[in-house]
């Protein structure tokens, strides 16, 4: 991914829907980010994940339980934010030459509706005899401040190691 996910036009539209009450009060958020690359890609993806979730929930405390694979290639967590919003995310990296994400979706569930955003879109499907490619298009909005994810990521790793729920703030 080149530009931050928080600037993706589908995501900023969904955020506007939440802030405008189009889906009622926010109840839950589910995020999946799966990329191709090496270990450095994973750390970048984790920071992206916290940034996206913070953009949705706002600064909040979160009580969560995390899991990670022994090789550290995949992390999942489920928790409840201080204002009651259920938050869960999966972030992992598939080993290979770095390229576009395999999966990047976020779902925002409200009391009166929900929004599913494919963070890899909008894009074109170009099919030729040589194969397919998917050039993206669309204007990106101003980036939401990414904030500092380091403390949250450290706590998430601690929860995965201990098998216990922990409380973090993002």
């Amino acid at each position: 991914m080149s530009a931050p996910l928080t600037t993706q036009p589908g995501f900023t539209r969904a955020l506007a829907a939440v802030r405008g009450g189009e889906i009622g009060l926010l109840r839950a958020v589910a995020l999946d980010l799966v990329a191709v690359g090496g270990g450095d890609a994973l750390q970048g993806l984790r920071i992206e994940a916290i940034g996206v979730l913070r953009a949705v929930t706002g600064p909040s405390s979160v009580e969560l339980q995390a899991h990670s694979t022994s090789d550290g290639g995949a992390t999942t967590f489920l928790g409840r934010a201080g204002h009651g919003v259920v938050v869960n995310a999966h972030v992992s990296v598939v080993a290979g030459e770095r390229r576009e994400c395999l999966r990047a979706t976020i779902r925002l569930v409200g009391t009166h509706g929900s929004v599913l955003v494919d963070l890899l879109r909008p894009r074109l499907d170009v099919r030729t005899a040589a194969g397919m490619r998917h050039p993206s298009f669309g204007a990106r909005r101003a980036e939401v401040s990414p904030g500092d994810a380091a403390e949250a990521l450290t706590a998430i790793a601690a929860s995965a190691r201990s098998g216990q729920t922990i409380s973090i703030t993002w």
Partner: protein, 338 residues
């Protein structure tokens, strides 16, 4: 008792909503035949029996005394499953129990033990294993194309809590709570795709429709596995708008991802009710036919039961632990005996 040249004689206990799906499947099958139904509402049983051209009884005892009944599908509320399951098996009939197998881990084992001691087939209606998409996903996993699964996301969200849910479903003492009533479907898929039982569960719930609900109509369960894999199982009956229906199945492996959304391969339709997605033709019907064909095969000792009884017990173990997690707000370890 079973003559392999003849259709397996099926009796259905309880002729509520889910029984209609089983009856519809049976009408299309040649390997099994509906021979009797019973219900606590004898007039309802008689009405269904007339329509299905089979016997109708007002009691389980009467149905079990019918020699034409070789196997029984129990379609009654959850709190009856353990006692009815043992009763059916004690009568020497093969059993397909609608999920969950029982309301408690001990109850699930009691039914399983009865089947094992009598050498009878015991299947549990984890019907999602038989859907086109579930089978296709499992085939992708088995092919090794996405590597070793390390994350599963299963989402089954809908808005049909009313009028679809009856009073007993809303009462955790009678249904076991949302983890037991519907959550077992998701737990079963996650464990099946990861390839091993879960070892822990942490759950978060909401009363989406009303704070006065005694169950969590919105529920998210996070499963942990000994191999480091994890799963997020999200199920809701309290979505808005009420017509909302969203299912997502994703498996992330060490080499890639397989995923699909419920109606992604179906039909998008713009009608006066707005944009709707229609499922692929015959999708729902095939689920129950496949489930019943597998049950018939296991009853005739021609195939192993699907899912294995151990998996059905495991689903109850995890679901019961999930309800504990909801109450206590902590991660619950699943018994090592699973």
């Amino acid at each position: 008792m079973t003559d392999h040249g003849m259709p397996l004689g099926i009796g259905i206990v309880g002729v509520g909503g889910i029984a209609l799906s089983h009856m519809a499947a049976l009408r299309t099958m040649t390997s099994a035949q509906l021979v009797a139904v019973c219900d606590v509402d004898a007039s309802r049983a008689a009405e269904v029996a007339h329509a299905e051209r089979c016997e109708g009884y007002g009691s389980v005892e009467a149905l079990l005394a019918d020699d034409a009944v070789e196997a029984v599908i129990v379609c009654t509320p959850n709190m009856t499953h353990e006692a009815l399951g043992v009763q059916v098996l004690a009568a020497g009939k093969h059993l397909l129990m609608e999920k969950p197998l029982a309301m408690t881990p001990a109850g699930a084992r009691a039914v399983a033990n009865e089947a094992a001691e009598r050498g009878l087939a015991l299947a549990v209606g984890h019907s999602h294993r038989f859907s086109d998409q579930s089978v296709a996903i499992r085939e992708v996993i088995d092919s090794g194309e996405i590597g070793t699964p390390r994350f599963v996301r299963v989402v089954m969200n809908g808005g049909w809590i009313w009028p679809g849910w009856q009073a007993w479903v809303l009462n955790p003492a009678l249904s076991g709570g949302h983890s037991l009533h519907n959550g077992t479907h998701l737990i079963d898929l996650a464990s099946w795709w990861i390839g091993e039982p879960a070892t822990s569960v942490f759950s978060v719930g909401q009363h989406a429709t009303s704070e006065s609900l005694e169950i969590y109509d919105y529920l998210v369960m996070e499963l942990g596995f000994a191999n480091g894999a994890s799963a997020v199982c999200e199920i809701s009956r309290g979505e808005r708008p009420r017509s909302a229906s969203y299912l997502e199945l994703t498996v992330v492996g060490t080499k890639g991802v397989v995923s699909r959304e419920w109606d992604a391969e179906g039909v998008l339709a713009w009608t006066d009710t707005g944009l709707t997605a229609w499922a692929a033709d015959g999708f729902a019907e095939r689920v129950f036919v496949r489930e019943l064909e597998a049950f018939v095969a296991s009853s005739r000792s021609e195939a192993e039961v699907i899912p294995p009884v151990s998996a059905a017990i495991h689903a109850v173990d995890v679901a019961a632990a999930s309800e504990t997690s909801l109450r206590e707000g902590r991660t619950i370890e699943i018994g090592a005996s699973v």
